[in-house]
């Protein structure tokens, strides 16, 4: 019924990483064999998408470590095992947590880390890099969220759909939900309460401006056409690979890591393409 994780020459170490908003839970994956290894921090998606993506990111972390990387996978404050409450999440706190996680791995390995950013985690990585708060070797962005206002729109649609199921009709339209959040009544999106500050951050963030300051070599992997600001950027290489959206509730269980992992290993650990299948 279950298979042992293959290519198991990976050490796994649970840890608590100090951060301004409280301790962040993380898992550090490193190759058994000694020697210098590229350092990689995984910036997960946010909220419900993070929950569904978790296992795929565990597999990805193991895959990267089996290919010779030292990997930190961590939970933002108020998510997973970390301290704090989700209601206090804003784009700024996500950036702050990512910076803390990268600092931890840099101290541990003595190397400037690369970043693997997934969905909103990709946007958080771009913002952190653009603000020069984060020195990175390279970035790989999986199915990045670039239009954060549109991303918010999809989240609010979840709340509206839930109203239909619970009450048979829509009690509060999206604009009313936003107004309520600004007045201090957070919006529940499958139990993740979005604050007014978070909503305003998503509505007001201009990632195009952040991209104009991007100087980190970046690989974007996406299932469909990547957003234009990324596709046209001189430091960005884009590849399209069909992908099962592992950040959503699955209808089909895939045992292996996401299809993006092979190209990611090639980019972050050149010369270490001897990736063994790690499920």
């Amino acid at each position: 019924m279950f298979e042992r994780t293959s290519g198991g020459a990976v050490r796994e170490e649970p840890l608590w990483c100090p951060a301004p908003g409280g301790a962040l839970y993380g898992m550090c994956y490193s190759p058994e064999r000694e020697g210098p290894s590229p350092a990689v921090v995984i910036a997960a998606p946010d909220g419900e998408e993070r929950v569904w993506a978790t296992r795929s990111l565990v597999r990805s972390a193991r895959g990267l470590a089996a290919a010779g990387c030292t990997v930190l996978r961590f939970d933002y404050r108020g998510q997973g095992e970390s301290e704090g409450e989700y209601e206090k999440t804003t784009l700024d706190t996500l950036v702050e947590d990512l910076v803390a996680a990268c600092g931890w791995l840099r101290e541990r390995t003595g190397r400037t880390p690369s970043l693997l950013g997934v969905r909103l985690g990709a946007a958080v990585g771009l913002l952190a890099a653009a603000m020069a708060a984060l020195e990175l070797q390279r970035m790989v962005l999986w199915e990045p969220v670039v239009d954060t206002a549109q991303y918010l729109n999809v989240l609010l649609r979840v709340n509206v759909a839930m109203q239909m199921v619970a009450h048979g009709r829509v009690l509060h339209e999206r604009q009313e939900l936003i107004a309520a959040a600004r007045a201090g009544k957070p919006v529940s999106v499958n139990g993740f309460n979005l604050s007014g500050a978070y909503i305003d951050g998503l509505l007001g963030t201009d990632l195009t401006a952040a991209l104009s300051r991007l100087a980190v070599p970046t690989l974007v992997l996406a299932g469909g056409a990547p957003p234009a600001p990324l596709a046209q950027h001189p430091h960005v290489r884009v590849e399209r690979i069909p992908i099962v959206p592992f950040w959503r509730e699955p209808k089909v269980h895939i045992a292996g890591p996401p299809a993006f992992l092979g190209k990611t290993v090639e980019y972050l650990a050149p010369g270490r393409q001897d990736l063994r299948e790690v499920s």
Binding site: M1, R4, E81, P250
Partner: protein
């Protein structure tokens, strides 16, 4: 920054050669010789849906009960993966394996680990949905004194695919909702502008009509291995608590299929419902009522066990 809750300790343990991880919340105040374990809600990590399991664990720990939240194999941080073909398998087939007790060995290993780490002699198992199923299957372990089952499916959910598989009262309710919309202009507007889910509408109404003309409801098969575990736990005098959100279809199935076969008065289990709540308690007031219900129950459990 002030820390409101102590950090749990991350503990690893082994089961059949797989390394599994859990988070152990220490009991605050004097120990009551009872520990609690919460299992994965299906494929979700040990924090639970929007961290429900963490919130419950913090509250029980404050009552003097150590709480262990664990990742079974193939979930969260733990080792192992489901054996499926390279192009995948329907997620419902994995749920079926959980429904039949795929994680029982992991649950028993978690009980041994909690007893070893904390010294408690009695253990209460719990979980939501698939976690509740794992808890009930694992109640054969001699240290188990109680089981808390929140929103537990009593039928194999792999068999509930369309309206034709729903229990009768649910089909009637859905059909009634559609009929009521015949006089609602907004509903006609949605219907004519292709915003209606025509497939569901057809499926519900045709099922209702079929049953009205004598087609009858299908023989809604219960989860037989789960029933066996329930009967065994009941005979072994485990204290059993069912909690259902009453806007969850699983509550309808429990009422219609389980309660009629295993009446509360005869079987001695406890039952609470949370008004208006959905399957994963997504609103804060539903969560608050769930926490209060579980805290009240575990308070009583402690007194009873201490007197035993």
């Amino acid at each position: 920054m002030s820390q409101l809750f102590p950090l749990p300790r991350v503990v690893s343990f082994s089961c059949e050669g797989f390394t599994l991880y859990g988070s152990l919340h220490a009991a605050e105040g004097p120990s009551r010789d009872i520990g609690m374990i919460l299992f994965n809600q299906g494929p979700l990590e040990r924090a639970g849906a929007h961290r429900l399991s963490i919130q419950i664990a913090r509250r029980w720990a404050k009552q003097g009960l150590p709480v262990f939240r664990v990742d079974a194999r193939g979930v969260g941080d733990s080792e192992g993966d489901w054996s499926v073909p390279p192009d995948g398998a329907p997620i419902r087939m994995l749920y079926k394996q959980v429904e039949e007790g795929a994680w029982t060995a992991d649950a028993h290993a978690a009980i041994d680990c909690l007893v070893r780490e904390t010294g408690v002699r009695h253990v209460v198992l719990g979980g939501l949905c698939g976690g509740a199923i794992t808890a009930l299957h694992a109640a054969t372990h001699p240290a188990v004194c109680g089981v808390v089952m929140v929103a537990m499916p009593v039928r194999p959910q792999s068999e509930v695919v369309g309206a034709g598989d729903l229990v009768d009262s649910k089909v009637k309710e859905e059909a009634k909702d559609y009929v009521a919309k015949v006089f609602a202009p907004d509903a006609w507007k949605r219907f004519l502008t292709m915003q209606t889910d025509y497939g569901t509408l057809w499926s519900v109404m045709s099922t209702r009509l079929h049953r009205l003309v004598g087609g009858g409801a299908p023989d809604a098969g219960m989860n037989v291995p789960l029933l066996r575990s329930f009967v065994a736990a009941s005979k072994a005098k485990r204290r059993l608590l069912f909690v259902y959100p009453d806007h969850d279809y699983l509550w309808t199935e429990f009422e219609e299929l389980f309660q009629t076969r295993y009446p509360q008065a005869e079987c001695g289990y406890e039952l609470r419902t949370i008004a208006n709540a959905n399957h994963t308690f997504t609103e804060s007031d539903w969560q608050a009522e769930l926490y209060a219900t579980l805290e009240a129950w575990s308070q009583g459990l402690s007194a009873r066990e201490a007197g035993a």
